[in-house]
């Protein structure tokens, strides 16, 4: 970036808070003062289109918030780099799973300290998890399978599940399950009791401070402008190389492109594909794409009163064969992968792209004729002007409309603003809709929402009793989510994926790749679809 010049400190935003507990924050302030004085290690400037509603881990799943939480709080387990398959120990140095798959015993690492200097214990983990569950915020579902959490001793945590749930370990890597300093947060209005949804008032505090064990500490946050992190010199994995990280709110991808070319930012995190293409080959700029776990698909309504002709399985099949998937992939941007079933290819058990339905417009016409549907007319709903992970939806919509018209399916476009489209998607009233699902956590289980009767499947009015295939996929899905043997689990998911591809009211389209760029002197920048950048892994040379 441009030369450092004069470095000042931003004033900490002071929210409404009681005077009590300020002494507990003395440790924070000493650390911040030390960081302000010494900036060896440099400053990393990240251009980011802010997606932050709140910095309270229990109340958000926003991507930018997750990136900040990954840097300021530690979870029990984590993933490295782009990987979503192999959970690694973090605050949990090891774990044991009972034979029935319902009891997980975690050994909590010794020596991990909060920024205040207090040592982390299993009580903090229990408190943090209970808070997430009981605040009933947007992240509460992560604890849905948990029956009880117990602390055997300061270094041992036991999680009791309602049923076997092999996805628990990957779920525990989610940044919203970062461990908070329970003592400090409780002093500032935090509450983890069953009545936390009315008794917890720690959100304002957590929007200004980060009482975690993470490698960085939140120094300041201005929603319109910038979020600044300073390094935690007491970090148990080793002090970060970078002294300071500035996340600059740059909403316009073209602006990020220009700024990274000029060197005014070090990493451009929310580029579009056109900007990434323009940056390739530019001196001193590295452009990469990272596979996302977000799936794009078409949903057809199986209720004849809502879906009309699209409730007919023959028409659904015809739609599958009618689409020019190669053409759609080109519009989805560099690195996009064909989606064959319900699972993102990032996860074991997913059908490979080679197993996906191939375009066959003659077959599509034949299916329509078989079903006695020669003149199919419908309404194609979608979020107009939507850009997600660099993918511009409108050209894809027009492409699909054109492909369907070639086989005799005429679609009227019905675009609406994203907030209206979201509501339509959730209402289950759309006849024919393009939408996407972003994985909430790094496990195949997350995609079971597409099964008959479950969250997304129900929106397509797909019920377990709608067909023998629906019954079978329902049974297989339930087996897969409770199967504790990895190999059997993968095999079950392969069957689920195949059935889904062949007989669901969904047309899997693609999984986009996320473009990002960084300056040539930046090392270790990788993008993970769950939390964007791992800021601890990044350093700058020169």
């Amino acid at each position: 970036m441009a030369g450092l010049g004069r470095i000042g400190r931003r004033e900490l935003l002071q929210g409404a808070a009681g005077a009590a507990g300020l002494s507990a924050l003395g440790g924070f302030r000493n650390l911040l003062a030390a960081e302000g004085a010494a900036a060896e290690g440099g400053t990393l400037v990240v251009g980011e289109g802010f997606d932050i509603t709140t910095l309270d881990p229990a109340r958000t799943l926003d991507l930018t918030s997750c990136m900040v939480h990954l840097a300021t709080y530690d979870t029990l387990v984590t993933f490295a780099g782009e990987d979503l398959k192999t959970p690694k120990p973090l605050l949990a140095s090891s774990w044991h799973i009972s034979r029935d798959g319902k009891t997980y015993t975690f050994a909590i690492r010794r020596g991990a300290k909060f920024a205040t200097g207090r040592e982390l214990s299993a009580d903090d983990v229990k408190w943090s998890f209970d808070r997430v569950k009981n605040v009933k915020g947007i992240a509460a579902f992560l604890m849905d399978g948990v029956d009880a959490i117990a602390v055997r001793d300061p270094q041992t945590l036991i999680i009791q599940l309602k049923a076997p749930q092999p996805s628990l370990i990957p779920i525990l890597a989610h940044p919203s399950l970062g461990v908070l300093d329970s003592k400090t947060v409780a002093e500032r209005g935090g509450n983890a009791s069953p009545d936390a949804k009315t008794l917890d008032h720690a959100e304002q505090f957590l929007n200004q401070q980060s009482p975690g064990t993470g490698p960085f500490i939140l120094q300041s946050y201005s929603p319109s402008n910038e979020l600044v992190l300073v390094r935690n010199t007491n970090y148990w994995r080793g002090t970060p190389t970078l002294a300071r990280i500035r996340l600059r709110n740059i909403q316009e991808p073209a602006s990020q492109q220009l700024q990274i070319e000029r060197g005014d930012i070090d990493v451009a995190d929310t580029l579009g594909h056109p900007q990434a293409a323009a940056l390739r080959g530019r001196p001193n700029v590295v452009v990469k794409t990272s596979p996302s776990a977000t799936t794009f698909w078409i949903a057809m309504n199986m209720d004849p009163t809502l879906g009309g002709p699209f409730a007919n399985p023959k028409v659904q099949q015809a739609v599958r064969y009618a689409l020019d998937y190669n053409g759609i992939l080109k519009l989805a941007g560099a690195g996009a992968i064909r989606l064959a079933g319900l699972l993102s290819p990032s996860f074991p058990g997913a059908l490979p792209a080679s197993a996906a339905v191939k375009t066959d417009q003659n077959k599509a016409r034949a299916l329509l004729k078989e079903g006695g549907m020669t003149d199919v007319h419908g309404k194609f709903s979608y979020p107009s002007g939507w850009v997600r992970y660099g993918v511009q939806i409108d050209p894809i919509i027009q492409k699909i409309q054109s492909d369907l018209a070639e086989v005799g399916i005429k679609m009227d476009l019905d675009g609406s603003p994203i907030v209206t489209a979201k509501q339509l998607a959730r209402s289950g009233k759309a006849q024919f809709m393009l939408y996407s699902w972003a994985a909430d956590y790094a496990d195949q289980d997350d995609y079971l929402v597409f099964l008959p009767g479950r969250l997304v499947g129900a929106r397509a009015r797909w019920t377990p009793d709608s067909s023998p295939a629906a019954q079978e996929i329902t049974r297989l899905g339930h087996e897969a989510e409770t199967e504790t043997d990895d190999r059997k689990r993968v095999a079950l998911y392969q069957k689920v994926d195949r059935l889904f591809a062949d007989s669901s009211p969904f047309v899997p389209l693609f999984v986009p790749a996320v473009p990002y760029a960084y300056r040539g002197n930046v090392r270790g920048a990788t993008y993970n679809t769950m939390w964007e950048l791992d800021l601890y892994a990044i350093n700058k040379q020169g």
Partner: protein, 339 residues
């Protein structure tokens, strides 16, 4: 006395007008066929009735609409504009941060527009069909027809990316701290704090977005000034002033411009109000954290408290500007009597 009574009347009307605006904003924003829970709650949470109920209760969305409006008015009367659902901060804190950014940009853009547009329009009329007039026509045509988004991006590409004359988008350089707020205007606050380097940095960042934003106003002011000047220059009193032997500059400035300026003043007031309402596109392109961006994000996500707050602020701004324009009319034109 008349002026004082007029002012008092206008000021007393303000709360009534703002109440009307608040009702209109409330009704219109709730007419949108979407639920804010869709914007703020993830799909899984949206499937859990307990979480949805907790969210609605937290934000007062589970109350009947008339009750929601009454509560909002009651709090507003006590100086509380509510909490933004999107930022989780008091709306007035957000507005206090955003509005000065827009004011700084708007005032600078307007100053440029007036400094360029007025003289250009006058000269174009005085030297009709000459090179200045031709240049003024081109400038005004370009100004009113060039899309701001395109112009902004081109300006950034040319002046920032290619030539390096302009700094990176934003209000300040990355390594410069914002001055401790007095007015919220970075240039002003830095100067008041005696921090010249920060003031210069803020000014450097202000130039390009202000220039881009001023283009439309330059175009429209030039055009209208030229047109009204041409009308006035043909009036009898101007001919009389010339016949009386007054020097040409005196005829133009003291007689023609003063009369021609009156309709342009209305235009300037309207343009300034539009600028203060926030230039979403310019702010997005230049990463300028102003009111326009905030309003757009509030509207897109159905952040009702923020929508209401922005509506009230913009309404108050327009009403204030309208009052100032009326008072300026009276000052310029002795035929106009306020009250």
């Amino acid at each position: 006395m008349r002026l004082a009574a007029y002012l008092a009347r206008r000021v007393l009307l303000l709360p009534l007008l703002l109440a009307g605006v608040s009702l209109l904003s409330f009704v219109l924003s709730h007419l949108v066929p979407a639920d804010p829970t869709a914007a703020f709650i993830g799909p899984r949470a949206a499937g859990d009735p307990e979480i949805v109920a907790a969210f609605k209760h937290e934000w007062g969305l589970d109350r009947p609409l008339p009750q929601q409006y009454a509560i909002y008015l009651w709090k507003l009367a006590h100086g509380d504009m509510g909490m933004s659902i999107a930022t989780r901060r008091p709306v007035e804190v957000d507005l206090r941060e955003r509005f000065p950014a827009t004011v700084e940009l708007a005032v600078t853009a307007m100053a440029i527009a007036v400094a360029v547009g007025l003289p250009l329009g006058i000269l174009a009329a005085v030297h009709r069909r000459g090179p200045v007039d031709e240049a003024a026509r081109i400038v005004s045509l370009l100004g009113v027809s060039m899309p701001v988004f395109w112009l902004g991006l081109v300006a950034i590409i040319v002046f920032y990316a290619q030539l390096g004359w302009a700094p990176a988008p934003g209000r300040l350089a990355g390594d410069v701290s914002s001055p401790r707020p007095i007015t919220g205007l970075f240039v002003t606050d830095a100067l008041l704090r005696g921090d010249l380097p920060t003031a210069l940095d803020a000014l450097k960042h202000l130039v390009l977005p202000a220039l881009v934003l001023s283009f439309y106003s330059i175009g429209s002011i030039t055009r209208l000034m030229r047109a009204t000047m041409l009308d006035v220059l043909n009036e009898d009193y101007v001919r009389t002033a010339r016949a009386k032997g007054l020097p040409r500059p005196a005829v133009i400035v003291r007689h023609a411009v003063r009369n021609a300026f009156i309709p342009v003043l209305t235009l300037m007031g309207l343009n300034f109000g539009n600028l203060l309402a926030g230039a979403v596109v310019t702010e997005t392109v230049f990463s300028w954290p102003g009111l326009g961006q905030y309003a757009f994000q509030a509207a897109s996500s159905l952040d009702f408290p923020a929508i209401m707050g922005v509506g009230m602020l913009i309404a108050a701004t327009y009403l204030t500007i309208s009052l100032l324009v009326d008072l300026t009319y009276a000052a310029i034109d002795p035929r106009v009597r306020v009250g």
